[in-house]
């Protein structure tokens, strides 16, 4: 299904790799690494949220997960700001 390629008429083939995936960096490995870093950050957050829940159970005080996830994301991804 995803093998079908419909593209805007003016899209140069250089925007995509030979599998049809969008590519952005000069080294295609970088496109993959960005995705890996995001997946890893997500998995760390999953653990963090579980810990928050355990701590809340123990102390009776719960943290706002929305505020926490924003802090977490801002902290982890700070190096890519203003690229």
């Amino acid at each position: 299904m995803s093998g079908e390629k419909l593209r805007p008429e003016d899209a140069p083939p250089s925007l995509y790799d030979d599998q049809g995936n969008a590519r952005f960096f000069a080294d295609p490995a970088m496109d993959r690494f960005v995705a890996v870093v995001m997946n890893l950050a997500q998995e760390v957050w999953v653990q963090e949220e579980r810990l928050l829940a355990l701590e809340a159970e123990k102390t009776g005080k719960s943290a706002d997960p929305e505020a926490k996830v924003k802090e977490f994301i801002d902290r982890v991804f700070a190096p890519i700001r203003e690229a």
């Binding site: 805007p8 925007l15 950050a41 700001r81 690229a83």
Partner: protein
């Protein structure tokens, strides 16, 4: 934030799934607000000046802004992260949809006797743009799971993560904002039969039934699964809507049988040919005095090069092949070519009713195009979003 769905088919998600959804919504917020601003700064500081040096002028079109930005570090990181975040949206809901397939069917059966209907056409030739590509990187596209509830559940749950709360508690902010705008702007207009074309799960159909409770509301889409889900969802929410499997460019309705033909975020998923035909069909089925009304991305002709490209990005990198072609067209021309009188055409920007409130919508309805289309907030799913729409009356 992930929106909590307002009906019994909402996910019974595990703590891990909830955390994954929360992260995905949060990372999208970083990308669509902060990294988007970084990319704009890099465009002004680096990409546009470099283009000017080479061409002796600023980039003038969306295409030239794209050309200027390709390879820029801020564009690269924004784009690579946005693609991955989009994949994470659908991945974050896939497990719960699969696990809960039986429960969803059970919930749908419980609501089956409520007012409303579902009519599928198994013989319908579902167009290629609906099934043959993973539209907005959604695995299996709109036909995933055939006529089961799967595609609709993925779409509904995915949108709850994707929208970051900007599409309303019931994912209906577009329909609510637009229908309220029309009601306020044309207080004497009282439609008795309303058609939503390309409705997916009917999330932006329901507000029209709420705005005009006495009207008969019919919603069509080419894909069967989202319709089946949308019908169950509408019944659960006590809204009588009739869902029918049908293509917008080949309507099986009589001439002059509707007062309103509506769509939201739909026209950009059609080829140019299908779109022209859909406009002709809307004109045909509207009664004299009837209204065609579309919510869409604002057109390129009304935006600067960067803002135009910012929206066109999806066409190249988010499996929306017709998006740019649509945005290059001129809404007034589309209506005129289909037969609508030029003097009946109107376009407008509505503040999101969920963000700005009912009064802001009423204010907008009082003044013609009170808000300019060219603003960054128009059509962009980011903080402070406003919706662009246009319409025309059949004489």
């Amino acid at each position: 934030m992930t929106v909590e769905l307002q009906h019994p088919m909402k996910p019974d998600a595990t703590p891990e799934e909830i955390a994954r959804g929360r992260f995905t919504s949060g990372i999208r917020s970083l990308i669509l607000n902060d990294l988007a601003a970084d990319m704009r700064a890099a465009y002004d500081r680096r990409a546009a000046p470099a283009f000017k040096k080479e061409h002796d002028r600023e980039p003038e079109t969306s295409r030239e802004a794209h050309q200027a930005l390709r390879g820029d570090p801020a564009f690269n990181i924004y784009s690579a992260m946005r693609v991955q975040a989009q994949k994470m949206v659908w991945a974050s809901v896939a497990d719960s949809v699969e696990r809960e397939a039986d429960r969803l069917s059970h919930e749908a059966r419980k609501a089956a006797d409520a007012p409303g209907s579902l009519t599928l056409e198994p013989g319908l030739d579902v167009p290629k743009n609906v099934h043959a590509i993973d539209v907005h990187l959604m695995p299996g596209s709109y036909t995933r799971g055939a006529d089961s509830l799967e595609a609709g559940a993925v779409y509904d749950r995915g949108l709850a993560v994707f929208s970051m709360g900007l599409m309303g508690a019931n994912l209906d902010d577009i329909g609510l904002s637009m229908s309220q705008y029309i009601k306020q702007r044309f207080p004497d207009f009282a439609p008795s039969r309303i058609l939503d074309t390309g409705c997916t799960i009917g999330h932006n159909t329901l507000p029209w039934k709420q705005a005009y409770p006495d009207a008969e509301v019919i919603a069509i889409d080419a894909a069967p699964g989202p319709l089946a889900y949308g019908s169950a969802r509408a019944k659960m929410q006590g809204q009588e809507v009739h869902f029918q499997q049908m293509c917008a460019d080949d309507l099986g309705f009589e001439d002059e049988s509707f007062d309103v033909v509506w769509s939201s975020m739909f026209l950009h998923e059609l080829s140019k040919k299908q779109r022209a035909k859909a406009f002709e069909e809307a004109y045909r089925v509207l009664k004299p005095g009837g209204l065609v009304i579309h919510m869409e991305l604002p057109p390129n002709e009304q935006m600067g090069a960067f803002d135009g490209f910012y929206l066109d990005w999806d066409s190249y990198y988010n499996n929306e092949p017709y998006y740019k072609g649509y945005r290059d067209e001129v809404p007034a021309d589309l209506c005129k070519k289909a037969g609508f009188g030029e003097d009946t055409f109107f376009e407008f920007v509505v503040p999101s009713i969920g963000i700005y409130g009912e009064e802001a919508v009423a204010e907008a309805a009082k003044g013609d195009r009170a808000e300019g289309v060219g603003q960054e907030t128009t059509g962009r799913l980011a903080e402070g979003v406003m919706w662009y729409g246009y319409g025309a009356f059949k004489k």
